[in-house]
């Protein structure tokens, strides 16, 4: 087996396994750590595809940034941060049947499809290409993402601030 194929299957197993732990674990801190392995495995996928910039961004933003914020959020909001999440499984049989059906459909469809495959280009420096595309063909989505993030931040501030009865100084707006 080629090295790259071996690495691909290794990271694929890592992603699926840690994703399963994240979903099934009842301890929210365990879930957050499992999520870290999922996200890091995805970064490895990007690196295997020679998308170095995306891989680094994935590490910085998701593993480094968002995950740390998730952990901080967990620690600051819950009373005991190793508190068990109250989970309960409802409608086990229909849900299992439905998921099985979806899985079978997806797997058969994926195996029977001729995907359009782009040849792998061994590029070392992808940043320049990305930058040029962001300023030409993908300029509009790039700008719109900016507006989207602005609205998301303001919306999150709006949702997260405390209102329960107490008066807030107007200068505290975000």
């Amino acid at each position: 087996m080629e090295l790259s194929a071996f690495l691909f299957y290794f990271f694929a197993l890592l992603i699926i396994g840690s994703a399963a732990i994240m979903v099934f674990s009842k301890n929210i801190v365990h879930s957050a750590f499992a999520l870290m392995f999922t996200l890091a495995g995805l970064a490895a996928f990007y690196a295997l595809l020679y998308a170095g910039f995306v891989a680094v961004t994935q590490l910085l933003v998701y593993v480094g940034g968002i995950l740390v914020i998730v952990l901080f959020g967990v620690m600051l909001t819950t009373r005991g941060y190793f508190e068990k999440i109250k989970t309960r499984t409802v409608h086990l049989l229909p849900a299992a049947l439905f998921s099985m059906a979806i899985a079978i459909i997806l797997i058969t469809v994926f195996l029977s499809t001729e995907w359009i495959l782009a040849p792998l280009e061994e590029e070392v420096f992808t940043v320049q290409g990305i930058g040029e595309l962001l300023m030409t063909d993908y300029m509009l989505p790039f700008q719109v993402v900016g507006v989207l993030l602005l609205l998301a931040i303001i919306g999150a501030v709006l949702m997260a601030t405390r209102v329960a009865g107490e008066e807030e100084p107007p200068s505290a707006s975000g």
Binding site: V109, L140, P141, L148, I154, G155, L158, M159
Partner: protein, 496 residues
């Protein structure tokens, strides 16, 4: 490239104005005194300027920003409708007591409102799946926050939470479907997708899977059964101006995106003259699936509406059933069907906003949303009662209101294409819908008002808004040819 971008910017002025309005709303909120009213008027002025720029785009047929957005009569029609919706929602928000009492940080409210509108404008024009998804998310994320804006009210917080969860599921379906489509066509813009689908001979199962997922994603947005279940709860819990916005503008934008996506990606350019679905009809009959969805929506929503006692829930189910009527046009996907859909959407916008507005006024003054509390309202406050009755009659589809015209055109187009059974079902569900619309009218006029009920005094501003909404309901009911010809001219999509 530089020239193309500069040209594109000049064809993108309505959206740029909206973005500037969004920024101006935040600045006005920081700087101005008496900010609650002033921010609203800043946004109102921004929307008026946007409307002027939209009107100046009439007759253009261009593709801008490297095929990301199309500026064609189709998108101009929808941008016009969305601007009108936005202007009215700002007026509703100014009048709403619910927002005044429970909503702080009104500057952010108007800012998010402008953001949703920007997302909808992009939805109306998007011709690239990346852009489509971004516009979809821009609209959704801001809507989640807006529906929970009065979050110290329990039901509003609940509405927002439900909307986030169901909205994320629908985005997930849409995104998965779009990814699969890119995987088999190797293209992200819808023209490329069409070319790839037409040149490759075998249409794989994955194509049907992906279209199915995309359809599910859209069905959440336009509230088609069986993906409607979030709508009544969210519509009931959200502040009424936002409910109105979600029930009208959000649906209009969703339909615009759905129509453009299906029409361009899946329809063979050469045979669009008669029926629309030849391009993809090969293995699975899509139009029958859409017809079944429309049937389910019309009949199901109207039956469920019969049991509602909350006026906002009732109007929510009514708006779901209207989505079913509009979806009948997508069964045809030809020019006639699309023009009928556009006429329906325009008329639906006015009459639905009117009904929600009066429900909001009554709920602000009487602090009730229960239909059984509407007893004798038509006698104690005749102006509101009569106007509400007119809007409900229009929603039911009676002449001489515009609702009749909307139904006539869509029924006519469907009959013309030979879908007799679909029209029979639609007629049947119209009859069901009469019961619950008339029940409200009966409660308002045929029962004696309780002694405790005082007449609701309406300010001049409120009356002006109601009259502005009443005029099109009557005018388009009698003199409908301009609307029809506008819609027919607007079925021009770039790239067809």
């Amino acid at each position: 490239m530089a020239e193309h971008i500069i040209d594109s910017i000049f064809l993108f002025l309505p959206e740029i104005t909206l973005t500037l309005t969004l920024v101006a709303a935040v600045l006005a909120d920081l700087v101005l005194k008496e900010r609650n009213r002033m921010v609203a008027w800043v946004v109102f002025a921004g929307l008026l300027v946007t409307g002027v720029f939209v009107l100046r785009q009439c007759g253009l047929n261009e593709s801008i920003f490297s095929d990301m957005i199309a500026v064609d009569p189709f998108s101009v029609f929808f941008k016009g409708l969305l601007t009108i919706a936005g202007l009215f929602i700002v007026l509703f928000s100014v009048v709403s007591k619910e927002l005044e009492q429970n909503g702080r940080r009104i500057g952010e409210y108007y800012m998010l409102l402008t953001g949703v509108l920007l997302g909808m404008f992009l939805m109306a024009g998007a011709t690239n799946v990346l852009m489509m998804y971004l516009a979809f998310e821009l609209t959704s994320i801001s809507s989640y926050v807006l529906s929970g804006f009065t979050k110290n009210l329990r039901k509003s917080a609940e509405a927002s939470m439900k909307y986030i969860i169901y909205g994320s599921v629908s985005s997930g379906f849409l995104l998965y479907g779009l990814t699969l489509l890119i995987g088999i066509t190797g293209s992200t813009d819808i023209y490329g997708i069409r070319d790839a689908l037409q040149s490759s001979v075998g249409h794989d199962a994955v194509l049907y899977l992906s279209v199915m997922m995309i359809l599910v994603g859209f069905s959440y947005k336009i509230t088609v059964l069986p993906f409607h279940f979030w709508a009544p709860d969210v519509y009931e819990g959200a502040p009424t101006p936002i409910t109105t916005f979600l029930a009208t503008a959000s649906k209009i934008a969703g339909f615009a995106l759905l129509m453009r996506f299906f029409r361009i990606s899946f329809v063979d350019g050469g045979i669009t003259d008669f029926a629309g679905y030849e391009g993809i009809i090969a293995v699975i009959p899509w139009n029958i699936i859409v017809a079944i969805l429309a049937t389910l929506t019309m009949v199901g929503a109207n039956l469920m509406a019969l049991w509602q006692d909350n006026i906002k829930r009732l109007l929510a189910y009514s708006s779901i059933s209207h989505a079913g009527f509009i979806l009948m046009g997508l069964v045809l996907l030809n020019d006639e069907g699309m023009a009928a859909m556009m006429v329906y959407l325009a008329i639906y916008l006015v009459m639905n906003m009117g009904a929600f507005f009066i429900a909001m006024i009554i709920s602000d003054r009487l602090h009730t949303e229960r239909i059984s509390d509407y007893q004798g309202l038509g006698r104690s406050s005749p102006f509101l009662g009569v106007s509400m009755a007119i809007f409900l009659v229009a929603l039911a589809g009676f002449p001489p209101t515009a609702g009749f015209i909307a139904k006539i055109f869509i029924f006519g187009a469907v009959i013309h294409a030979g879908w007799i059974w679909l029209v029979v079902v639609a007629g049947f569900s119209t009859v069901i819908s009469l019961f619950y619309y008339i029940r409200v009218v009966k409660n308002m006029f045929l029962s004696e008002p309780p002694d405790s009920m005082k007449p609701i005094e309406t300010s001049r501003g409120v009356m002006a808004v109601v009259i502005m909404l009443l005029i099109p309901v009557f005018v388009f009911g009698i003199w409908f040819s301009p609307l029809l010809s506008w819609a027919r001219d607007a079925v021009v999509l770039f790239g067809l």
